[in-house]
């Protein structure tokens, strides 16, 4: 019951973070880098929730994120054929990406169980960078021509840095909530 309640809190927080992301502006002087909060919560969920909970969180986060950000375009053929609806980075691919990242981070659970907050910090940075880099690679591959301008890297790595800064408060806040609910992170490895 406690696990379910804590999962509910993390899931609601994740949905709020994804929706609130629309209100977070980019930082102009820092190459238009955008602080992202939802990978921090995704990393926390991957460390604190059981494997099944992490997968459910990845599913819901990926679906909501894709539904809000997928770009649909009407393409017209040069010869005047019927217009065709196309989508860049189709709906659902983020679910797989988040589940994969979550599974990797979930492997660091034994360290997290020892109370290592820095693990969550590093996982948040890694998760943010991996998400942004994969999104860009998929987009640039689809559009043709693998372009890697110099402005690309700050826009990938600075959000990773921001995520690492945001990670400790998120860690301590959710650990506090977990204590309130009497939720204990347990090792799932078979004995």
């Amino acid at each position: 019951m406690n696990t379910l309640a804590f999962f509910g809190i993390v899931l609601v927080a994740q949905c709020v973070a994804i929706l609130a992301q629309h209100l977070v502006p980019t930082i102009g002087p820092l190459f238009d880098a955008r602080p992202l909060l939802y990978p921090v919560l995704l990393a926390y969920g991957a460390l604190a929730l059981p494997f099944g909970g992490m997968l459910a969180l990845a599913f819901c986060s990926g679906l909501l994120w894709d539904a809000l950000t997928a770009q649909f375009l009407v393409q017209r053929a040069a010869g005047g054929g019927p217009p065709q609806l196309v989508v860049e980075n189709s709906l659902g691919w983020s679910i797989l990406l988040y589940a994969l990242l979550g599974a990797l981070i979930h492997g660091l659970r034994p360290l997290f169980l020892r109370g290592r907050w820095d693990i969550h910090c590093l996982a948040s940075g890694f998760c943010t960078v991996a998400i942004l880099l994969t999104e860009y690679l998929l987009m640039t591959f689809r559009r043709g021509g693998l372009v890697f301008p110099s402005t690309l890297w700050p826009r990938i790595f600075l959000p990773g840095f921001f995520a690492m800064l945001a990670a400790p408060p998120v860690y301590f806040l959710f650990n506090y909530l977990a204590n309130l609910l009497d939720y204990r992170v347990r090792n799932e490895a078979p004995s």
């Binding site: 994804i18 929706l19 992301q21 629309h22 209100l23 977070v24 502006p25 980019t26 102009g28 190459f31 238009d32 955008r34 059981p50 494997f51 099944g52 997968l55 459910a56 990845a58 599913f59 679906l63 909501l64 539904a67 809000l68 950000t69 997928a70 770009q71 649909f72 375009l73 009407v74 017209r76 217009p83 609806l85 196309v86 989508v87 860049e88 189709s90 709906l91 659902g92 679910i95 797989l96 589940a99 942004l132 999104e135 860009y136 987009m139 640039t140 559009r143 372009v147 301008p149 402005t151 690309l152 826009r155 959000p159 799932e188 490895a189 078979p190």
Partner: protein
């Protein structure tokens, strides 16, 4: 791996496969987005209203002398505009009369739907905004979005009461364009990693022979080719021109400051105008 984890993994994959099968058509995926947008629209509308109100309160803190001065200025402007309006009405009447006399067709005018930006896309690699108008207001996908300074972009996903507008700075928004005072045509699009504060557009497929004519400062307009964007919309201004192997490319700064947009207009069609009267037959 524990038994519970294996079961969770199987359930997850079944759910993912079911999702991919159910949304294999792009139209279905767009419908999912439309439903999600309609669902979150009140939330974005609320936050947008709150921020607009907070800004209004911050701007509205004025002293009595300031308000009196502003009132005096507004009255003066009102008088000037009334006079100007009268003059323009006279000119419009005269213009219509001359056009009718010459048998010209009435110049097409746009039917516009005003909209407010309620959210900016949170995606890092796609530049779009969300507006507070949708299907209910007559919007459809691929409709041009403009402001008085020029073209902003086009609508993409349109939900019942909200829509996404793909900005001109996105690489996916391509506009057939022509350069002022030349007959040079090209395709204008955004950069792959365009930034919001100093965005740059690329005018591609220009003839290499036209490079000497393409001077910085020349305005770029939509040419109307392609059918999405009407001709004559201001797109931007040439910043520089570079030669490439097969063509020339111009760097263009957008006419509209997209970072500060608040209100836009969606071009939903052409304004219906009464047919021009047939000129009376000449009598000798």
């Amino acid at each position: 791996m524990s038994r519970n984890s294996i079961i969770a993994l199987i359930v997850f994959f079944v759910a993912v496969i079911a999702f991919f099968v159910l949304t294999r058509h792009t139209e279905t995926q767009q419908r999912v987005q439309q439903n999600v947008l309609s669902f979150v629209r009140p939330l974005f509308g609320l936050t947008s209203n709150l921020s607009a109100k907070a800004e209004a309160v911050a701007k509205g803190m004025k002293t009595l002398p300031q308000l009196e001065e502003e009132n005096r200025q507004l009255k003066l402007t009102n008088e000037q505009l009334t006079l100007r309006n009268q003059l323009l009405n006279d000119m419009e009447r005269e213009n219509t009369g001359l056009r009718n006399a010459l048998g010209f067709k009435q110049r097409s005018q746009f039917k516009l739907v005003p909209a407010r930006i309620i959210a900016r896309s949170s995606a890092t690699w796609w530049t779009s905004v969300q507006i507070d108008r949708g299907e209910r207001d007559g919007l459809d996908s691929d409709m041009p979005v403009v402001v008085d300074e020029g073209l902003v972009g086009k609508t993409t996903t349109v939900a019942e009461n909200t829509a996404y507008v793909l900005l001109i700075t996105d690489e996916g928004c391509k506009v057939a364009a022509t350069v002022e005072s030349t007959r040079e045509n090209g395709i204008l699009s955004g950069e792959r990693t365009s930034s919001g504060n100093a965005p740059e557009l690329s005018l591609n497929f220009l003839a290499k022979t036209a490079v000497p004519q393409l001077k910085p400062g020349l305005k770029v307009f939509s040419s109307g080719v392609g059918g999405v964007f009407p001709s004559g919309l201001v797109l931007g201004e040439i910043r520089s021109v570079e030669m490439r192997a097969l063509d020339a490319r111009a760097r263009v700064s957008p006419a509209v400051n997209l970072a500060r947009l608040e209100n836009v207009f969606v071009v939903v069609g052409q304004r219906e105008t009464p047919p021009a009267p047939t000129p009376a037959p000449r009598t000798r």
